[in-house]
Symmetry: C2
Subunit: 279 residues, 2 copies
């Protein structure tokens, strides 16, 4: 059965958590009113991203669950909708760059960004410790990654092997990372045969220009919807069950690919070994 | 120092090994005369690909080293050039879909295709047992993959972690796999920061149309050269040492990516685990 999904490309202001949260709620209500059953927001959608020191970043962080999860849960409980959003998480004294899946019952799952660039608030967050996990929803299994995680094929591969049908990618792609919507996200969708819902932010912040181009791709790597560079919502109808069929059979016995079953994990030991010096 | 590389997009005829080998030699001499220091030929460049039974395939196979390696070695010894070519290998009674690196000293290394589709001669070849290895040359470290291997990110990742600067990809991309030059090969080059020399064949054979579009990409995922759909050679000048710099530093301490060092092998166990049922 088709599921209507949305990427909600917003323009948060650095540290203005109250106003950003109000915007998130308003835009989420708009997508839900348009029939979206699963919406995805950008990374750090309530805090902003480009903090220059730990103390200021902590002031914009929140607990998870916390105020944003509570507010989103209200809308989900009214509507039955689900949402993935990137939040700057404070646990004790420690910051994490986190994505959370929220549904009618409240928080469904939490993912903490595993791959951290030396950039923006990621200079002050702790490396993610949740690993790559998928969560059941009424319309399929959902996993989440965040921004720079996309560049590392291991991350989405791990989610696909856990059974993900849909991978939500809250992101803050700055100018210079146009390769992500141009070809990387499409490759991830294709190689894993999953739907990818990549939601970038837009606008200028802290010296970055975030170029938007949020994108919804299908398991064949086709772009179903792509945003421009402004504050906007894009929708697509997807059939998550298509992600369960990893085989491509053009002619039985003569032209078949089993894109998961043809893997050779017996030869992949190098990927989990201690890194060796390469020079 | 720049190195001139070539992808030599040929059109072998099924089972006509003598004529195909003569063509390979002639085209290789042409590329060497044009200054190519490393050339890449397609997969199964001497045998053809679309065999419908094991016996006929065996008749078109050869030992490695064998006649093709010997002939290529002659040209390499005269010129100092290197070449990667896909060959249908016969070892005892067993067939392998193999790529071989040949230089002035003869065979430098052999790679047997790890990922096998149910398609063409791959229905009759044994799964590759060589793993993913790189070989030293005067201009850098070269690894090889074959065709369908490209779809599995683990393969080129393993080569990059072994230190590959250049990955040669002999391939037989049939109609329907245009995603490979459109976005997959570029993603592989970018995510591993290596040069990718993908050489497809062209022409019709055994009901397949092989669409060409051999492609040379740099470690930023940029296309340096791409062929059309005919029998042709494309060249690029590359600086293999660029593949040794896995870090991208836009502003020191403020905007740095370490595209290998930022990996999280501690979280990648799922990639080498026994596959779990996903339905």
């Amino acid at each position: 059965m088709p599921v209507k999904v949305a990427v909600i490309q917003t323009n948060p202001r650095l540290g203005e958590t109250g106003e950003n949260r109000r915007q998130v709620l308003a835009r989420f209500r708009e997508a839900v009113a348009d029939g979206a059953q699963l919406s995805v927001f950008p990374e750090c959608a309530v805090s902003g991203y480009g903090f220059s020191d730990l103390e200021t970043a902590r002031l914009a962080a929140e607990t998870i669950p916390g105020p944003t999860v509570a507010a989103l849960t209200g809308v989900c409980a009214e509507s039955g909708a689900y949402v993935v959003i990137g939040l700057l998480e404070l646990e004790g004294e420690v910051l994490y760059n986190t994505a959370v899946l929220v549904g009618p019952q409240g928080m469904v799952g939490r993912y903490r960004k595993a791959h951290l660039p030396l950039l923006g608030v990621d200079r002050f967050t702790a490396p993610g410790d949740t690993g790559f996990r998928v969560w059941d929803t009424p319309f399929g299994r959902v996993g989440a990654l965040i921004c720079y995680d996309l560049r590392f094929p291991e991350a989405m591969r791990a989610l696909a092997l856990e059974g993900a049908d849909i991978v939500a990618l809250p992101t803050n792609w700055p100018d210079g990372s146009q390769n992500a919507p141009e070809f990387v996200a499409r490759t991830r969708a294709l190689e894993n045969r999953v739907f990818v819902l990549a939601c970038n932010r837009c606008g200028d912040e802290s010296g970055f220009w975030f170029f938007g181009h949020s994108q919804i791709t299908d398991p064949a790597g086709r772009v179903l919807a792509e945003a421009g560079s402004g504050d906007e919502i894009r929708y697509a109808e997807i059939i998550p069950a298509l992600a369960r069929e990893k085989r491509i059979v053009l002619r039985p016995g003569e032209f078949e690919l089993d894109t998961v079953g043809d893997r050779r994990p017996d030869l992949y030991g190098r990927l989990v070994a201690e890194p060796a010096p390469l020079q």
